[in-house]
């Protein structure tokens, strides 16, 4: 069929799965901030990658030109998405691949699960994939009696630790070596009980643990970093070789990919394969990149499937101020420079996508009204570091402000009575309209001292102002206002002057 508008859905259809957060960001952040070990681990990790990134980016004299090309390419992709999807499907299918389309998380999960069952197996190996994390595939497969083994070291740590990823590139960034060792000792079958916390030995334990699985797996599940429309080629970028194991050894390969991952042509790889590794791990190139185009006889899986996922992407695309969030290539540079992420960690963002990009992407995919996702656009100081770091120049601060506006607008219609904010604004209007009014109000200042404790700090303000004190204390107001002080000072001054005369 053609990509011509068919007049059907005019309202955006939002995504589901692990995109929703069930606790507002400020509450989650408040709890996470109490974990000093996590903060120390995060600070070390984000600063290390950040410094490496700056060094390798500085080596390229044409970095800004590459960013310009990357951003413009992605804008082209979004504008021409229907035609590019058709072109990709035609080429991928012509070379023996099979494409499935999934409107939402549940549909994608069912497709993958059915494909696995067809192969008569109850075990699959998995390459780290944000898309399958987003749709909650592992949990779904478990309900179906299928065990999915994560093979990326960090994902394995998270999976064995019954934890959630907290970073899109280094999902176990919040754990240090001792915590990893403890997880392995408790959860990894047949592990050497004398395992130390040396990263090399921990990596070797993971190798040992997964080797049999790789060599015997019948089915693998992966994500994809890029899909080239003009040839029907898929690309996976990784470091450990677990990706290559999954992509080449099993007979069946099932890839789940968001529809926004397309690039028009092979030529575009020359831009994105320079932007991605340098921005994500701070390396000139990641150790392994695999590219495959459908099925190659005699080399690699002979049953090759691709699930094309919407799950709210079309809804994000419908937001003409927010749609550039879909340009994201999941490099994680924005989270490594974000002062808010560095302190709260990824878990505070609730959704699969943490950090600055998550703060815009999650509410765009689910709609701002969904559960607690409306708190995410406020999880930022708007310092702009994320925009500077983004290899495809997504203006995250601008979209954050836009989404805050959407949030306020979406609430406005709901209320019949004036809100606390409306009343406060009215009060402020009265207070600041004349010096007399303000003076009168300031007489109440000493009352503030009563609200403060012995340590002269106000820990909790009432009503709408409570948000202000959720993560900070306010010093008690002085017993005297500035205006009173001035009056007194100058009264005595005036008296002295008179006497001198």
């Amino acid at each position: 069929m053609s990509g011509v508008f068919m007049g059907m859905p005019s309202l955006p259809v939002f995504g589901d799965g692990n995109l929703h957060i069930d606790e507002p960001f400020p509450a989650a952040a408040h709890r996470e901030l109490g974990n000093t070990q996590m903060r120390a681990n995060l600070r070390h990790a984000t600063h290390t990658i950040r410094d490496k990134r700056i060094k390798v980016v500085g080596e390229l004299p044409d970095w800004e030109e590459l960013r310009d090309a990357g951003a413009a390419t992605k804008n082209q992709v979004m504008a021409n998405l229907p035609a590019l999807l058709e072109e990709f499907e035609k080429n991928f299918t012509a070379r023996g691949g099979i494409i499935h389309w999934a409107r939402d998380a549940d549909e994608a999960n069912r497709i993958v699960s059915d494909l696995i069952k067809e192969q008569d197996t109850t075990e699959v190996v998995k390459v780290k994939s944000m898309a399958t994390q987003e749709i909650g595939l592992n949990e779904y497969l478990e309900e179906q009696g299928i065990s999915a083994f994560e093979t990326d070291l960090a994902e394995l740590i998270v999976q064995l630790g019954h934890d959630k990823p907290s970073h899109i590139l280094v999902p176990a960034i919040h754990k240090n070596r001792t915590e990893v060792r403890d997880i392995f000792l408790a959860e990894m079958p047949n592990v050497d009980p004398n395992l130390t916390d040396e990263p090399r030995l921990l990596a070797m334990a993971a190798r040992e643990h997964l080797r049999r699985k790789f060599l015997s797996a019948k089915v693998a599940v992966s994500g994809a970093n890029f899909a080239l429309a003009d040839s029907g080629t898929l690309a996976v970028v990784e470091s450990e070789g677990n990706g290559r194991m999954c992509l080449t050894l099993p007979e069946t390969l099932i890839t789940v990919m968001g529809i926004e991952k397309l690039l028009p042509a092979k030529e575009d790889l020359e831009v994105f394969m320079q932007l991605l590794p340098r921005s994500s791990t701070g390396e000139r190139m990641n150790p392994y990149t695999s590219l495959w185009t459908g099925v190659t006889e005699g080399d690699g899986p002979q049953n090759v499937h691709l699930v094309m996922l919407d799950n709210g992407r079309t809804a994000a695309l419908a937001d003409k101020y927010g749609r550039t969030a879909l340009n994201c290539i999941r490099c994680s540079a924005c989270m490594n420079v974000c002062p808010v992420y560095e302190r709260t960690g990824g878990h505070a963002y609730g959704s699969t996508y943490p950090g600055p990009i998550g703060a815009i992407l999650s509410p765009l995919l689910t709609g701002i009204k969904s559960e607690e996702n409306s708190s995410l656009p406020y999880a930022s100081s708007l310092c702009g570091a994320c925009f500077d770091a983004c290899p495809v120049k997504i203006n995250i601060p601008e979209i954050l402000v836009h989404l805050r506006g959407e949030d306020v607008d979406s609430r406005r219609g709901e209320k019949k009575l004036p809100s606390q904010m409306d009343l406060m604004m009215k009060g402020a209007q009265w207070a600041f309209s004349s010096g007399k009014n303000l003076g009168l109000l300031e007489k109440g200042l000493p009352l503030g001292k009563l609200a403060a404790g012995q340590d002269k700090k106000i820990k909790r303000l009432p009503g709408i102002a409570a948000g202000w004190t959720q993560s900070r204390d306010i010093p008690a107001p002085p017993s005297q206002s500035f205006r009173d002080w001035w009056k007194k000072e100058h009264q005595s001054e005036a008296t002295t002057m008179k006497q001198e005369k």
């Binding site: 011509v4 508008f5 090309a69 979004m78 999807l85 280094v170 990596a203 020359e270």
Partner: protein
């Protein structure tokens, strides 16, 4: 309506404002004019930074160098298309350690798992990023053979080296199964400390051959 039709229809509806994005500016470097010796030096620097072992040799020394790099392997695999003259050194001729992987006579996964090393050629290399590309043709073999053995000896003819990624892509047949290798298997997932070798080959030896 099927899922595909519905998604395409949602996209069309989302793009009702008919955005007209700017054309893609391609002002970044697409060509270079680095001399051969500088190109080799840059590639060696990048490969050693990834902890690969590198030899730079003349074509006449290639077979001896391969023999030297494979001397500790109790077994090794070669793809069927490896040039005969690469294996003429006395230590390699009629070598009982050698297993040949060929279409129609492929080694099974357990057999590959029991093989110490692999010898392949390569299709194109990018000096600036230290990347070597294998494309699955006869002298590089199917992807599994350069993955499962723990030690990869990879031959890079100087004529296949370019400086920039944009110079390398036109040399690749994108529809072949491609593997881009930049150093041995590595992870930085525990406290960002780099550990070489997890699932792929833990040792990567590169032999850069002048005059080839």
């Amino acid at each position: 309506m099927g899922a595909k039709e519905e998604i395409l229809s949602r996209i069309s509806s989302a793009l009702r404002d008919a955005p007209v994005p700017a054309p893609v500016p391609r002002e970044y470097r697409k060509t270079s004019d680095m001399e051969e010796s500088a190109l080799i030096e840059l590639l060696v620097d990048r490969l050693e930074d990834y902890k690969a072992h590198v030899n730079v040799v003349d074509a006449a020394e290639l077979s001896a160098t391969i023999a030297e790099r494979l001397k500790d392997a109790t077994s090794y695999v070669v793809p069927h298309g490896i040039a005969g003259e690469w294996l003429t050194n006395a230590a390699l001729a009629n070598d009982a350690r050698r297993r040949v992987d060929a279409p129609g006579a492929v080694l099974g996964i357990p057999e590959l798992d029991g093989t110490d090393a692999v010898l392949t050629s390569s299709a194109v290399s990018i000096a600036e990023s230290g990347t070597i590309v294998l494309d699955g043709t006869g002298d590089q073999g199917r992807r599994a053979i350069s993955l499962v053995p723990d030690h990869h000896v990879c031959v890079v003819p100087v004529s296949t080296i370019v400086q920039l990624l944009p110079e390398a892509l036109p040399r690749m047949d994108i529809t072949r199964p491609l593997t881009w290798i930049s150093g041995p298997s590595a992870t930085s997932d525990i406290e960002l400390e780099r550990v070489e070798g997890v699932h792929g080959p833990r040792q990567l030896d590169v032999i850069i051959v002048k005059g080839l």
